[in-house]
Amino acid sequence: MEPSIWEISRPGARGVRPVSHPVGKTDLPASLCRQDPMGLPELSELETVRHFTRLSQLSRGVDTHFYPLGSCTMKYNPKVMDRVPGLTGFQDLHPLTDEEGMQGYLEALWTFSELLKEVLGMDEVTLAPAAGAHGELTGILLARKYFEKKGERSRTEILVPDSAHGTNPASASMGGFTVRTIVSKSSGHIDLEALTEALSERTALVMLTAPSTLGLFEEELPEVVRRVKAAGALLYMDGANMNAFLGVLRPGDLGFDIVHINTHKTLATPHGGGGPGSGPVGVRSHLAPFLPNPRIVRSGKTFSVSDQPESIGRIRSFHGSSGVLLRALAYIRMLGQDGLRRVSLYALLNANYLRKKLEGLLPGTGEGLCTHEFVLSARSLEKKGVRAVDLAKGILDAGYYAPTIYFPLIVPEALMIEPTECESRTTLDRFAEDLTRLVRLAETNPEKLLRAPEKTPVSRPDEVKAARDPVLVDPAAEKRT
């Protein structure tokens, strides 16, 4: 293992110098000045570079391993996209530059939202949200504002299927709504009866993930839409699974009022170990006046930034995560209409191919074709004492990242597998062979799986200890106070 950076730290050592001249004491009064030591590590530039280079090598990414993490769409992040945010004029642009000094940037973002409007079939788009969940919160605040303006303040409930991402109910709750959970049918599809029963004049919003987290597109979606609208509620689409329909269908055409997408999933921007993401939101025109401030507006050939009076307000300090959004713009431009369609069609091809390859191995959900991902249940292995997590650890040893496990919650011992369009058949074939071997191993030599992973830098960490006696700050840094 790599020592912590405080363990490498040598008091008095220096790395990069930020200024070329000696800096003396300031004239600030001592009572307002820091007295505690800063507690930062002290290293040479080489020591820092070596440390973080080694840390990077201790992590798997799409660039090193097949990464079938369901629901996260771990597709290839084209290297050319990494160049975009670093371009001079983007990277070094102050967000509060006078409008005349940021016309190129505003044009780029405006162009991207115009494209997204078309791709989503929506009337307006905001690029402000910093992640998918942030987009959800934005959508929910839009719904609140909409009903407020409409004088329907009694709409205080949001309906969320039990198969939804945890962010959906959490966002609804943050938006001040009461969450009602709709239990899914055993097929994983939405229970139309349960939905109808739950819908009322208190319903503000119904949040659907389409296709669902089970890798299924609601067959009865048109009917769902009809009933939600009939109840006077708005319909929200969690577009996290947009890789299943990019260029193929448009949420707006299906009747959704609000949709968010995740550029770090569908539009190939890097996941960065857990962010930065970005979660643009598209809305139909009745919700457009409420979009977050500031808005980018075009007038002739000039672009400007302005606040709209009916807006829900700011949801972050500045316009948006341009370092992410510009990458996504580049992606759409490179793909073109045909390329966008191919993304989804091949994502579906890969998922269905892999699913069929694994047929009979572990029970899955749904009949017929799946979308861009699918869910298997490892429950049958429990009799051998093997759980989904054990299978996941075996998959690590086989030379992959692991699928998502224990999600969706409605499938016991779930393994959620999403190969994305970027993986070759060779990789899928090999993965299917390895997973088959591991399931057999669970039956013949479960002990081996319970010991897995054995080929990683560490074996299974003691998570109970971590939660019971949390160490959230490096003890080596504490010592240096």
Partner: protein, 453 residues
């Protein structure tokens, strides 16, 4: 002309055949719509990577970035020096193309880097702990306010008028639907008097949020705030510029319960406003109440040190509507960038950068104060690296004229209580004496001259 799909035509056919299909389109036949394959305003086949880079390079070139103009503007985004090693290291594919480390054994490096981020930030803020990042400073402040509301079960939030207005706006957006009432605590001469705070306090107050430094660049004296708030059962929240904390008394030293900040000054590019980095630190009391990821140190089966995501019972994927927050993707890559930045500069480097920023700003302030017609605000109050002035002309016009001369001057402010002629200036450690002399000369020329269009 690119789709990053690896399949050969033959593989596609064989895979379709394996599925009993003859065309790719059949894969979406079951989609519940007949409006598939919409026509989009995009060329059928897209651009090559060369073409798309050329297009974006063209757009980028139209902007007045800091390589083209000298930046004297801050107001929440700061033009600091960023060592090239930061870019080189965070750009490594393993960091860039991984996701939230759900499988700790395959993500030890990432987990350790986040753990080191938590450590560095908590130490810098003088607080017990830090989470693994939020979206940006403003949302971090808003989430801290929500913690205060939940923790106290009270509904009034006091926010200093010295807080960045965009942060206040975000707090308002985040809290409006929750029945939270926001009350602004006014400044007197750029600082909050403790008497003013006391006047606003009541048993309904969840907490008070102050700024280090204020939007106006002034440095407040929070002596007695902790005690006054505790006496009323309210939380003490501070929102700090992490760069400033190399010089200034920390949230921990002031006795804050929670402290947030915008991490952009710590090695993150200006990037027109994002992605930035939301910092949240807390005293240990709030360990299980704060939102966002937390990485903890533990041991593996062989007793070797190991890192994991921990205390996940707070989070949305476990607690759903009862979670502390809806946050999922955060800003991990930027938190690694900040950790690398702090490691490269170290305590002395960060001190030098902060102190030189302060000194440059004070040099600029003195210079502007000597220009006839310009009036300095908050005289006699200590500042960090920003300060406000009143101009004898419209601030936007003044800014426009500066831009034409190659300077992104102070931020023109307008709106209630600000007038049309107010301007908020900033100088960082990378501004040279020559640049300061230059912008002063330009300012004089504009005020003297005929080009006030």
């Amino acid at each position: 002309m690119a789709d990053f799909i690896p399949h050969t035509p033959r593989e596609t056919q064989e895979m379709l055949g394996f599925l009993g299909l003859t065309s790719l389109e059949e894969l979406v036949r079951h989609y519940p719509t007949d409006r598939t394959f919409p026509s989009l305003p995009l060329a059928g086949e897209g651009m090559t990577e060369r073409e798309v880079l050329a297009e974006l390079r063209g757009l980028a070139a139209k902007n007045a970035g800091s390589s083209k103009v000298v930046v004297f503007r801050g107001a929440g985004a700061y033009d600091h020096f960023i060592p090239e090693a930061v870019h080189a290291l965070v750009g490594r594919g393993e960091f860039l193309t991984s996701y939230t480390p759900y499988q700790p054994e395959a993500s030890q490096g990432l987990l350790q880097a986040i753990f080191e981020f938590q450590t560095a930030i908590s130490r810098l803020f003088g607080m017990d702990l830090s989470n693994a990042s939020l979206y940006d400073g403003a949302t971090a402040a808003a989430e801290a306010c929500l913690v205060a509301v939940r923790h106290t079960g009270r509904s009034i939030l006091l926010v200093s008028e010295g807080m960045d207005p965009s942060v206040i706006e975000v707090i308002r957006t985040y809290t409006e639907g929750l029945g939270v009432r926001l009350r602004l605590v006014p400044l007197t001469e750029g600082r909050t008097r403790i008497e003013t705070l006391r006047e606003h306090l009541s048993s309904e107050v969840a907490g008070f949020l102050g700024a280090i430094p204020t939007f106006w660049g002034t440095v407040e004296d929070f002596s007695g705030f902790r005690e006054a708030l505790s006496a009323e059962g309210a939380l003490f929240l501070l929102h700090a510029n992490p760069h400033a904390l190399a010089l200034l008394r920390t949230p921990g030293e002031w006795g804050a319960d929670l402290a947030t900040g915008e991490g952009q000054p710590l090695g993150i590019s200006l990037s027109a406003g994002g992605p930035y980095l939301g910092l949240m630190t807390a005293s240990r009391t709030f360990m299980r109440k704060i939102p966002g990821r937390l990485v903890g140190q533990t041991v593996d089966q062989e007793g070797r040190r190991a890192y994991v995501l921990t205390l996940q019972a707070r989070e949305q994927h476990i607690r759903r509507e009862k979670a502390n927050s809806n946050i999922c993707s955060n800003e991990t890559l930027l938190s690694i960038a900040a950790t690398i930045y702090l490691s490269l500069l170290g305590p002395r480097g960060l001190y030098e950068a902060a102190a030189a920023s302060h000194q440059n700003a004070m040099t600029l302030r003195r210079g502007l104060g000597e220009i006839p017609g310009i009036r300095l605000l908050h005289e006699g109050v200590p500042h960090f690296h920003e300060f406000a002035v009143d101009l004898p002309m419209d601030a936007r016009t003044f800014s426009h004229n500066l831009l034409e001369r190659g300077y992104l001057g102070g931020l023109p402010l307008s709106g209630p209580g600000r007038g049309e002629n107010r301007m908020l200036w900033c100088a960082t450690e990378i501004r040279t004496d020559e640049e300061i002399r230059g912008v002063l000369a330009a300012a004089k020329e504009i005020l003297a001259g005929g080009n006030r269009r």
